[in-house]
């Protein structure tokens, strides 16, 4: 069976320069702890599906595996694109001789990757019938695209109608014209969601594009049992990709199991049923020796180090924050006593304790809206309020939040004060809630929890029904703009979940958009951060540091700050 497949691969390889480097007998076994949803780049947005898409599809540009900080490099293009002087026109030259993975849709023909495929892939994100979760990245971005979208109405986009902004000049040349300059555009294009798709494949599998990803990437989807197992196999048609003298990918088969419970996930790794795994929160202390002097200084427990297990760490490009609904009559508003209430809650929350107990020290407190590793971050800025419940109480006293007969504070006007915090129902969320309860207890403010699934809470938040909720924002691309926009008033109710509206902030944000990363923009960002700290729409959380483990026989194991997976670089030598 395996031999036969290799034979076929060898025959097809005769006609191409591509060499099948992967050893089909090598299997990489990994696990997701959340079920994936599907593999149509224009339809899904979750990290786990993204990890698969990343390996099946090829975006125009990608990141250097080894360079730190992350560096955009050409992927299917000959070189980085030529950018016009005004920063609006990008011209890409594709490498010829890149082929899609074999698929019945191509009727046995080899299908070469063309510029039109990228144009098609980008347009799909605009298609109203697809409802791409990434549409916010492309809406209004390309010249002439709006007219096309408007023409489509609720129906499908007319892909054949030419668009000024998304143009395949010839078979290998793609020209993208932006409505305005954007310094993050290449990073956006490096996202797996913008990998090339073959139009005929999408149309042939129109009813089920999620299960039939056909791309030019290093792997193809071999088997998919939704929510249970995903098997990737090396794509025999994959172009020749050499890194440090090694032809990629190395591993012929990647098996992804979905294991939602922490215990089996961790035990499966320890018992070598998985080759690479993250460390579940519960197992952090069991797996790592954490230096209390510097919790970020960790090493593997000797018993694991002895086995040759490798530890890799990366700081996530994310912030976590507890937001207040700024439109809420109780916790929102910019009156002084409202700010005082929010400030007091922030001051009463024992953030360091949560980092110690829940994160096991594997996080750094957030002090700036932009996390470390993202352009625009200011490590010197100390935005978080000091933990000081006594002062918080004194502050509330000053603003007339008196303690009533029942031992709970009331609003200054004497009405009862009760705050509702939205939360999920998982065990870890419960741990967080215990600390929130402790914080509110110390303030003598009544706290209730509104439990719900993520989508229900999201809906409630959009309907302005929440008061507080905890969210995390991971970088779509490593630029500060991706974070600062979280408090931009035009994004209120969407990415700006706190519905924060502040004229000065907006003015500064709009000004910052016109600037490239640099001191000038950083100054604006600092000013904006000060507004955020003063107004307190968020209580700053933390930025997690992720540890990943691999068994000794896994070679080339290294984490990348922006790539979801590094499977194509990994080798197994048992």
């Amino acid at each position: 069976m395996m031999k036969k497949r290799m034979l076929v691969a060898a025959i097809t390889a005769l006609f191409t320069m591509a060499a099948q480097a992967a050893d089909m007998n090598k299997v990489l076994r990994v696990a997701f702890n959340v079920p994936e949803t599907g593999f149509d780049p224009a339809k899904v947005s979750d990290t786990y599906s993204g990890a698969i898409i990343e390996n099946v599809f090829d975006p125009l540009v990608s990141y250097d595996y080894l360079a730190r900080p992350a560096k955009v490099i050409p992927n299917t293009t000959v070189a980085l694109p030529a950018v016009s002087a005004d920063g609006r026109v990008y011209t890409f030259k594709l490498k010829p001789g890149i082929y899609f993975a074999a698929d019945p849709v191509f009727k046995g023909q080899k299908r070469e990757l063309t510029a039109a495929d990228y144009a098609y892939a980008i347009k799909r994100h605009l298609d109203p019938t697809i409802n791409s979760p990434w549409s916010f990245l492309v809406d209004g971005r390309f010249v002439g695209a709006d007219t096309l979208v408007k023409a489509a109405g609720k129906g499908a986009l007319n892909y054949d109608s030419p668009v000024e902004g998304i143009k395949a000049l010839d078979k290998y040349t793609l020209q993208l014209t932006l409505t305005e300059g954007n310094y993050n555009f290449l990073q956006i294009l490096a996202m797996p969601a913008f990998g090339a798709v073959a139009r005929e494949a999408i149309e042939a599998y129109a009813s089920n594009t999620n299960a039939k990803p056909v791309g030019t990437g290093p792997y193809t989807l071999k088997e998919w049992k939704p929510g249970s197992k995903i098997v990737l196999e090396a794509n025999p048609n994959f172009r020749k990709l050499v890194l440090n003298g090694q032809t990629l990918p190395k591993v012929g088969r990647v098996e992804v199991s979905i294991i939602e419970e922490e215990q089996p996930l961790w035990l499966a790794f320890i018992n070598k049923q998985l080759d690479i795994s993250g460390i579940p929160q519960a197992a952090l202390q069991e797996a790592l020796v954490i230096d209390p002097k510097n919790p970020l200084n960790v090493k593997l427990q000797p018993k694991y180090a002895k086995q040759g297990i490798q530890l890799e760490r990366k700081k996530d490009l994310e912030v976590t924050y507890q937001f207040f609904n700024m439109q809420d009559p109780v916790v929102g508003g910019s009156a002084k006593e409202k700010i005082a209430l929010r400030r007091a809650i922030a001051m009463a929350f024992p953030r360091s304790e949560t980092i110690a107990a829940i994160r096991r020290g594997q996080a750094v407190p957030m002090n700036y809206v932009i996390p470390e590793g993202v352009a625009g971050h200011n490590p010197a800025f100390k935005g978080a309020v000091k933990y000081d419940p006594a002062a918080a109480n004194a502050l509330l006293d000053r603003f007339g939040y008196k303690v009533g007969a029942n031992g709970l504070r009331t609003l200054p006007d004497g009405k009862p004060l009760s705050i509702e915090m939205a939360t999920g129902t998982s065990g870890i969320e419960k741990q967080w809630n215990e600390y929130w309860q402790q914080a509110f207890d110390s303030l003598k403010i009544q706290l209730t929890f509104k439990y719900g699934k993520w989508n229900e809470l999201n809906k409630a938040n959009r309907q302005n029904k929440l008061q507080m909720w905890n969210l995390a924002w991971g970088a779509d691309y490593p630029d500060g703009e991706n974070f600062m926009q979280l408090l931009y008033s035009k994004n209120a109710g969407d990415a700006n979940s706190a519905s924060f509206r502040h004229a000065e902030y907006d003015r500064l944000f709009e000004a910052s958009l016109k600037l490239q990363d640099g001191a000038e923009r950083n100054r604006l960002y600092d000013a904006m951060n000060k507004i955020v700290v003063a107004q307190q729409p968020w209580i700053f959380g933390d930025t997690r540091i992720r540890s990943s483990l691999a068994h000794s026989y896994v070679k080339n194991f290294k984490l990348h700050p922006l790539l979801n997976t590094t499977w194509r670089y990994i080798d197994i030598q048992k």
């Binding site: 197992a283 209390p292 919790p295 700010i339 005082a340 110690a356």
Partner: protein
């Protein structure tokens, strides 16, 4: 004339007359296992009562020891991991900052903060009244059941958990029985249309998998004891319904009910004054069965995230923490809960068996 009744001659010496309940109680008292089980259950109920009234386990949320301290007896068997504290994080952060460019350290200056004056005043006030640091002397190694991940006394938690779980079990069972009995009585007693309608209702409920009903009901209601109880009642009334329906069907044809009909007793009187007391012993047995089932149900429900909130704890909520703890070798919370739960559930099951025998009117 036969007024002369030697049959009752011995009557004068007869002991006080006893109802079937009293007879049942007597039989139960003679059943040593049943009696022991009754005492155990009673002890648990007392404990739970103390828990509800705040007499026991009310300090379960206090952090009295270092996190994950092993039980006193197993002091040396716990894993030797170092628990981080907030101070460690703060210290590391200080350290981190000092190595960074201190000159660029920015933050919010007073002129940026609308609350600057108030903050200063509040901090001053707090500093003045600041009590001496209220660090709790850690009870290291002296806790019978050890401490949990937040340094709370597991024993206190178990007591509080007993209170909650028992409350959940008992009231869930009670509510389920109430629904089941009322519907079952109506259905069995009136038959025909009423029965058809209620049977339809019943078969609909039994056809939908319990788990799904549970998930759906829990999703609609907010979290907390009341919800857990409601959800359980709504999913577990069917057994009682079936039982009561059959019993009412049987009893309504019994001669004593017909006799009551003949003397003009109303439907309500016949259903609840005549028949109900005659099936109560079955209800009692059903009640204890249901209670046990619901206590175990609660554990699963909590594990799936539908349990009680953070201000309450229950056995299920504690068991839900077990997998994470076990990974790190902290077995004592699971052990304590399992032990307690086994004891109560075993006692309850044995009591059920004894009750079944003791209250069976056939055995006389």
């Amino acid at each position: 004339m036969t007024n002369h009744t030697p049959l009752l001659a011995a009557d004068a010496a007869c002991p006080a007359s006893r109802s079937l309940w009293q007879l049942g109680w007597q039989r139960l008292r003679r059943d040593r296992i049943g009696l022991a089980a009754l005492w155990v259950v009673a002890a648990f109920v007392l404990l739970a009562l103390a828990g509800w009234l705040g007499l026991a386990g009310s300090h379960w949320r206090h952090e009295v020891a270092k996190p994950n301290t092993p039980p006193a007896l197993f002091k040396h068997y716990g894993p030797a991991t170092v628990e981080l504290t907030a101070a460690d994080i703060d210290a590391a952060q200080q350290h981190h900052t000092s190595t960074a460019d201190a000159s660029a350290a920015t933050g919010m200056s007073a002129e940026d903060d609308p609350l600057a004056a108030d903050m200063a005043a509040a901090q001053a006030a707090a500093a003045k009244t600041a009590p001496a640091s209220t660090a709790v002397p850690p009870h290291d190694g002296s806790l019978v059941c050890g401490s949990d991940s937040r340094g709370r006394d597991v024993l206190q938690k178990v007591i509080q958990g007993t209170a909650t779980s028992l409350l959940v079990g008992l009231s869930g069972a009670l509510l389920a029985m109430l629904i089941g009995t009322v519907l079952g009585a109506l259905s069995g007693y009136f038959g025909r249309r009423v029965d058809d309608l209620l049977m339809w209702f019943y078969s609909v409920f039994t056809s939908v998998p319990d788990m799904l009903l549970l998930l759906a009901f829990s999703a609609v209601m907010s979290r907390g004891i009341d919800t857990v109880i409601m959800v359980m009642a709504l999913t577990s009334w069917t057994g009682t319904y079936r039982l009561m329906r059959a019993e009412f069907m049987k009893h309504k044809c019994r001669e004593y009910v017909q006799a009551a009909d003949a003397i003009g007793a109303s439907h309500r009187s016949r259903m609840f004054r005549h028949i109900l007391p005659n099936v109560t012993h079955l209800l009692l047995v059903q009640f204890s069965l249901l209670t046990v089932a619901l206590i175990k149900y609660e554990a699963i429900l909590s594990f799936l995230g539908f349990g009680v909130g953070v201000t309450q704890t229950s056995w299920g909520a504690m068991l839900a923490e077990a997998p994470a703890e076990l990974l790190q070798g902290y077995w004592w919370q699971m052990a304590a809960v399992t032990l307690c739960m086994s004891l109560l559930v075993t006692a309850f099951s044995m009591l059920t068996d004894s009750l079944r025998d003791a209250l069976d009117p056939k055995v006389q």
